[in-house]
């Protein structure tokens, strides 16, 4: 209504407003509400996985001295004797309050373990995303501008090759090159950000690189494709004919519209980065979430597995929502 009122009232609108205010706000609501629904779906999946587990945690924990009475007591202590829906709701609401239960084996609160490990992943993923965007963006733009040229062919070839490389090979390759041969960077380990950016970077750069190259390759390819597509669009010709200059045409116009698919790739890349972290963390000996998951998995530590999954999923959801908001802000339908 507001847009209609702001115009001289009597003038009939020849074309319908393609995105009336209602629909626009609905799009925003969708962008913000969907993650909540998805979170519930994901939490169900996560919880269901635990519920499916055939191993009895109590028996596993109690080990050699287990008696049926002990097991029953332990089950009660873990709340495993209640109906599944009750367990789920309780688990979810506790989780929302930051309580993810206690590890079956160490009785350490799962949340403590996770939140000790999470900063590592977040810092690393952040750096990896930054690297992916910088490397992938530069390569993609370069390739698109020199379409068919040597740079384009190189970028395409390198990007394809990176996509065919098992991630751990990449990690070990980086270690061999930068640590063993060049002796420039540590082969593994981690120093938290609090110890200073420089220190942190020395340890984080190789794993972040290992994590990001794959995504960088996808971003480069995607950006190249969509940018080539955009550069072929009439409006680019229009901007060129207006004499706007190459840089302006590229950064002010074409890139703006080409970036959407690349952002989507990035959105998909976040779970890949967090997922890929398992291998990377193992190789570089990083105290991250994925190591925790691997450990927990080896022990069938259901609360810890569920906790790591849920937290990872939440991080992914937040990242995806941010990407969606970015996409929404870049497209005209979402503005105003």
């Amino acid at each position: 209504m507001t847009t209609l009122l702001s115009r001289p009232a009597p003038v009939a609108v020849a074309k319908p407003d393609p995105a009336p205010p209602k629909r626009r706000s609905r799009r925003w609501i969708g962008t913000l509400a969907t993650p909540v629904v998805v979170f519930v779906f994901s939490s169900l999946l996560t919880f269901g996985l635990g519920a499916l587990s055939p191993s009895n945690p109590a028996a596993a924990v109690l080990g050699e001295t287990a008696t049926p009475a002990d097991i029953a007591r332990m089950n009660h202590e873990f709340g495993l004797d209640r109906p599944l829906p009750v367990q789920y709701v309780d688990w979810l609401f506790s989780a929302l309050r930051g309580d993810l239960g206690r590890s079956y084996f160490t009785t350490i609160p799962v949340a403590d373990s996770i939140f000790a490990a999470l900063p590592v992943d977040l810092a690393l993923a952040g750096l990896a995303i930054l690297l992916a965007v910088l490397i992938g963006g530069a390569a993609g733009i370069g390739a698109a501008l020199r379409q068919g040229g040597r740079l384009d062919r190189t970028v395409t070839a390198v990007a394809s090759a990176l996509g065919t490389l098992p991630p751990f090979v990449l990690g070990i390759g980086l270690i061999i090159i930068f640590s063993v041969l060049l002796k420039a960077l540590p082969a593994g380990g981690y120093v938290p950000l609090e110890n200073g950016l420089g220190q942190w970077l020395r340890f984080a750069i190789l794993p972040a690189l290992a994590l990001s190259l794959d995504i960088a390759a996808s971003i480069a390819r995607q950006l190249r494709t969509s940018l080539v597509g955009q550069l072929g669009e009439n409006y680019v010709t229009g901007a060129v004919v207006r004499g706007l200059g190459t840089r302006r045409v590229l950064f002010g116009h074409a890139l703006r519209n080409a970036i959407g698919p690349a952002l989507t790739v990035l959105g998909i890349g976040v779970p890949m980065i967090l997922g890929g972290a398992v291998v990377t963390e193992k190789i570089f000996n990083l105290p991250g979430l994925a190591q925790l998951a691997l450990q927990a998995s080896g022990q069938h530590d259901v609360p810890l597995i569920q906790g790591t999954l849920l937290v990872t999923v939440t991080v992914v959801l937040i990242c995806n929502t941010l990407v969606n908001i970015a996409v929404l802000r870049l497209t005209p339908q979402g503005k105003r």
């Binding site: 191993s55 028996a59 596993a60 109690l62 080990g63 050699e64 001295t65 287990a66 206690r102 084996f105 160490t106 009785t107 350490i108 403590d112 373990s113 000790a116 490990a117 590592v120 070990i172 270690i175 061999i176 640590s179 063993v180 002796k183 960077l185 540590p186 082969a187 593994g188 380990g189 981690y190 120093v191 220190q199 193992k282 190789i283 570089f284 000996n285 990083l286 105290p287 991250g288 190591q291 925790l292 450990q295 998995s297 080896g298 022990q299 069938h300 530590d301």
Partner: protein, 486 residues
């Protein structure tokens, strides 16, 4: 990145921080810790009444000395005066009493079985602790040198026992200041430690066992100062100019055999298994030759090591075949499932060796955590590829391996002659001149009568950076007295 900050505390000088790539703990509470490895890290923050010297003999620690009565059922420890826990509370006889009693009585205690023989603990005065035993047992000072005897601050466990899992309070050489589960433990020197004068390190950082493929690079780049490396990396470490120490340890590779399950319910099959195994070949693959072929649970040089057992089950596939032919299975291949947590390496090789000796072996992989459940609790596996980490006390080791309730005795049967031999060991004071021969006799009985197949000893191979002084070679718990980082 080392040498950051030198701390000079009372009772001695202190150097840099040592970064140790080895393992982390399942829990920082010795009472609920569930892995044998934990003892190494726990001994950094906890101290016991006794400790083991490099040969495995109990020597004074928190206690300056101890005395058995004539019957061997009452043991009196004398504590050092003025001891303190890291939380500042006093470590006196009452604290020791409470700590030991918790180990015995706490419902979730995993060391209760070891303390079952402890009838009473009394504290007549601040520096005297009297242990009353149900039966004579001269192994207690050794037992108390390990996880079982670690003294935990009563103030801490009375306030919040579960918090101990991440926030230990003991009186060890170091204090835990930061901990990320499965990732990193940061410790600083404890100036109040009774033996602080010998602790030259200002701090300690413990990391999980590194990847074999990158461990040497990690040492070179300074990620670790010391790391445990697999045998395969020894040459690489040496080539990289890193000093390597191969420290004999109590750890021994072993096959847990369940004689209650097919095919090992037939003694001939069990016997055949002993000859079917080519220990030397396994040692070569698993350790690149570092360590020794083993036929018994103790390493050479240990009091219980019996010379008579050397080479007793030499690899002899033909003999194994013969024995199988004599068994109830006749000449058809005997099917056997090798259960393991990680199939690569020894189990694969074992499979091939058994198949060459008339078995038909398949491999089954179960997660490490389930192994406890399936092998030790449910006894549902016939053959499990295992490692025995050794125990501070020889009798304790026997109990775990061969006792009726022993973890690694899935068949749950102990021949009477072995029980007798063991009882005799317990009754023999450690300083008795006959002790070694009594112990060795028991070893011989056990190896001949029990189905466990010992394979090879697993030394602790440590590679370190040149700026770290040599690591003292303790067989049982690794200690760091005198180690310096420059």
């Amino acid at each position: 990145a080392c040498g950051d900050g030198t701390v000079a505390g009372p009772g001695g000088t202190a150097g840099g921080t040592l970064k140790w790539g080895w393992s982390t703990v399942t829990s920082w509470d010795p009472v609920t810790s569930s892995a044998g490895w934990d003892v190494h890290l726990l001994s950094l923050v906890y101290a016991g009444l006794t400790k083991l010297d490099e040969k495995g003999n109990a020597v004074p620690a928190l206690a300056t000395g101890w005395k058995y009565d004539a019957a061997g059922t009452t043991l009196t420890f004398t504590l050092r005066p003025g001891l303190k826990f890291s939380d500042g509370t006093a470590l006196d006889a009452t604290a020791v009493k409470k700590s030991l009693e918790r180990g015995r009585d706490f419902p979730k205690s995993l060391i209760a079985a070891q303390l079952a023989n402890v009838k009473s603990v009394t504290a007549p005065d601040a520096t005297t602790v009297v242990i009353g035993l149900a039966q004579a047992d001269y192994q207690i000072p050794n037992l108390f040198a390990g996880k079982t005897g670690m003294i935990v601050s009563p103030a801490a466990f009375e306030a919040d026992a579960t918090a101990l899992a991440t926030k230990p309070v003991g009186a060890g050489p170091f204090t835990l200041t930061a901990y990320v589960q499965n990732a990193k433990a940061t410790l600083t020197r404890n100036p109040d430690y009774w033996d602080a004068a010998n602790i030259k390190l200002g701090g300690f950082e413990a990391y999980p066992l590194p990847e074999p493929a990158t461990v040497v690079a990690a040492l070179q780049s300074g990620q670790y100062d010391v790391a445990q490396i697999p045998g395969s990396q020894v040459e690489a470490a040496k080539a990289a100019g890193l000093p390597v120490q191969v420290i004999p340890s109590l750890v021994v590779a072993v096959l847990d055999v369940n004689i209650a399950k097919k095919p090992f319910d037939d003694p001939k099959v069990t016997e055949a298994l002993r000859y079917a195994v080519d220990r030397a070949a396994l040692l070569k693959t698993a350790q690149f030759g570092h360590g020794d072929v083993a036929y018994q649970p103790f390493p050479k040089g240990y009091a219980g090591y019996s010379n008579s057992l050397e080479g007793i089950y030499q690899h002899n596939p033909d003999k194994a075949k013969q024995l199988l032919a004599q068994s109830s299975y006749g000449t058809s291949p005997v099917e056997v499932v090798i259960t393991t947590a990680k199939a690569e390496g020894v189990p694969e090789q074992l499979q091939s060796q058994l198949n060459a000796a008339g078995f038909k072996a398949t491999i089954e992989v179960i997660p490490q955590a389930q192994a406890t459940q399936l092998v030790y609790v449910q006894h549902s596996k016939a053959l499990f590829v295992d490692q025995f980490a050794g125990r501070d006390s020889a009798v304790q080791a026997f109990q775990v391996l061969f006792g009726k309730e022993g973890l690694m005795n899935p068949g749950r049967q102990t021949p009477p002659e072995l029980a007798d031999a063991l009882a005799k060991v317990s009754r023999t004071p450690l300083d008795d001149p006959s002790y070694p021969s009594v112990l060795q006799a028991a070893t011989a009985v056990a190896v001949k009568s029990m189905p466990n197949v010992f394979l090879y000893s697993v030394p602790r191979i440590l590679a370190r950076r040149a700026n770290v002084s040599a690591i003292p070679e303790f067989t049982a718990v690794q200690r760091f007295e005198g180690v310096t980082v420059s």
